[in-house]
């Protein structure tokens, strides 16, 4: 019942973010990257193969378990899924989070998620698939090479950030487990663990745990849908959904479920968490759509973060968050006002 950041609460210190902070200065990598920009501008030449991002030297870096590190290190930037827009500073991306399992304020996750045990981690694959089972995350990831992709993330609350993720296409994983013809929908479930996730003990919240999200199978097979294990060239911080999360950039952020423990295939549409508690405000599809307002606020524009006070950085929101070319076909013939 505490209220966040009341008077006198200082800014978070890096030491607060991780018990044993590992500080690393990455500026030299950036200098190397910059020196290559003299190459002809092909859009990706200076970045191809490099996944090093500018992280201030005093910020914690999450290295992930040792088995993950070589995978992260060998990730390759995919210029086909990138953008020239300005990245959100790493600091903002790891301190401004919606992850209600750790509290409802934007700074709660960075404060309360640091103890989350993300290794070992198991993921259950279940339902209409040929190879159901309980798998170690390491085995889940084993055959997949990681890509570095830069996506826009548009929150349903009308703010957005541009973030570089490390992950692999969800479609590749789905194919591996061989869904049957009955697999029309994919359900995702977040960890439920009151010991580790204090927000799940809040008596005065309407969300029921565990958090559930879902996609239609053809949405899940779209090449944009990414299973993510890292960001900014490193492992995912717990507040960003470590060790495994979904990123579906053409949908509002709450669809991009975090800390996944279960992927389930079924013939029926899952009852997703936000849709369950406020069906008139959060649809199952939740495609970014400037033409359909949230009942309580406009979706026509967004604040691209970080924003400063006198240039609030308000930009027009694009249909499907600017990914219409890739995904609009999925919804052909559907009334997007009805299926918001």
């Amino acid at each position: 019942m505490k209220r966040y950041r009341r008077i006198g609460s200082p800014s978070i210190q890096p030491s607060e973010i991780t018990p044993e902070p590992i500080y690393r200065n990455r500026r030299r990598f950036m200098q190397a990257a910059l020196s290559m920009t003299a190459l002809p501008v092909l859009g990706f030449s200076s970045q191809a193969g490099a996944t090093d991002y500018d992280i201030a030297g005093d910020l914690p870096i999450y290295e992930g378990p040792s088995w993950l590190q070589p995978k992260l290190a060998s990730a390759v930037h995919n210029p086909g899924y990138s953008t020239e827009e300005k990245l959100a500073p790493y600091y903002d991306a790891i301190t401004h989070n919606n992850f209600y399992e750790f509290g409802t304020d934007k700074r709660d996750p960075v404060r309360h998620a640091q103890g989350l045990i993300t290794d070992p981690w198991q993921v259950e694959i279940s339902g209409a698939v040929a190879k159901p089972g309980q798998y170690h995350l390491e085995d889940i990831l084993a055959p997949h090479a990681l890509e570095d992709r830069i996506y826009r993330l548009r929150c349903v609350e009308a703010w957005s950030m541009v973030i570089p993720w490390l992950g692999f296409p969800l479609a590749d994983l789905i194919k591996r487990f061989e869904p049957t013809s009955k697999a029309k929908y994919v359900h995702f479930t977040t960890l439920e663990d009151k010991e580790q996730m204090p927000g799940q003990s809040n008596l005065f919240g309407t969300i029921t745990w565990p958090y559930v999200e879902g996609l239609r199978i053809d949405e899940a097979m779209n090449p944009l849908a990414l299973l993510v294990v890292g960001m900014y060239g490193n492992a995912l911080p717990p507040q960003n959904g470590a060790p495994l999360r979904l990123v579906v950039p053409w949908k509002y952020g709450f669809k991009s479920i975090k800390s996944i423990v279960r992927i389930h295939f079924s013939e029926t549409m899952p009852q997703t968490s936000w849709n369950h508690i406020a069906p008139d405000e959060y649809g199952f599809y939740a495609n970014v759509n400037p033409a359909v307002d949230h009942p309580r606020w406009s979706q026509a524009t967004e604040r691209r973060l970080p924003s400063s006070l006198f240039s609030p950085n308000i930009i027009d929101t694009l249909p499907f968050n600017g990914y219409a070319e890739e995904v609009a076909d999925l919804y052909k013939g559907m009334d997007l006002k009805q299926w918001f």
């Binding site: 800014s11 409802t104 005065f204 919240g205 026509a300 006070l309 609030p312």
Partner: protein, 195 residues
């Protein structure tokens, strides 16, 4: 120090105390410590403190009656004006930092969103109270002053509604303020009912 001087000191201290949330907000702003979304932070913070000072204003009479704190009454105007002041800043911050004074957005927001309509109504009703808060006005209006200023009751209910309509999932804060409001208004009704 004379009694009068002492009173002056206390007045100034109370004044500064009510101003403190704003001072701290500005300090954090200057330190760049409002996070990635400073606009939203400021709007919420100002709304929150307006609410607090409004509830404080409402507690003056119960404190006098049930606790015998008669001295608090002389601070009631200051409390109320600070509630108004923070609410005005809240609206200005909303229009400036969140909407960038886009008139079309402003009009849509003010006419379409129930929680904002309710908030605006509350602020609109606070305006005549602020204007007539002076001693001169109080004398001039006589009996009507009291009637006019009982607008604070519907205002507080509108503000509670404004806050409640914003609930996304967690309603712990709203619950606290609603319980306080029930107590603050309830003890007035209770007293009226008794012969």
């Amino acid at each position: 120090m004379s009694a009068l001087q002492r009173k002056g000191w206390i007045r100034w201290s109370v004044f500064l105390l009510l101003l403190l949330p704003l001072i701290l907000l500005i300090q954090r702003l200057l330190n760049g410590d409002l996070g990635a979304d400073p606009a939203k932070f400021i709007v919420k913070e100002l709304g929150y403190w307006s609410l607090c000072w409004l509830w404080l204003t409402l507690s003056v009479t119960p404190a006098r009656i049930y606790l015998g704190w008669r001295w608090l009454t002389s601070y009631r105007r200051m409390f109320g004006l600070f509630a108004f002041f923070y609410a005005v800043l809240h609206l200005l911050a909303f229009a400036t930092f969140l909407l960038g004074w886009r008139w079309d957005s402003l009009i849509t927001e003010l006419t379409k969103r129930p929680y904002i309509i309710v908030g605006s109504l509350a602020l609109l009703c606070m305006l005549p109270l602020a204007i007539t808060s002076t001693k001169g006005m109080q004398r001039k209006l006589g009996k009507d002053w009291k009637r006019l200023h009982s607008l604070i009751y519907p205002i507080s209910i509108l503000v509670m509604l404004h806050y409640t309509l914003q609930i996304r999932s967690d309603f712990s804060q709203q619950l606290i303020f609603a319980v306080l409001l029930v107590v603050l208004l309830g003890c007035r009704i209770y007293r009226k009912r008794r012969p």
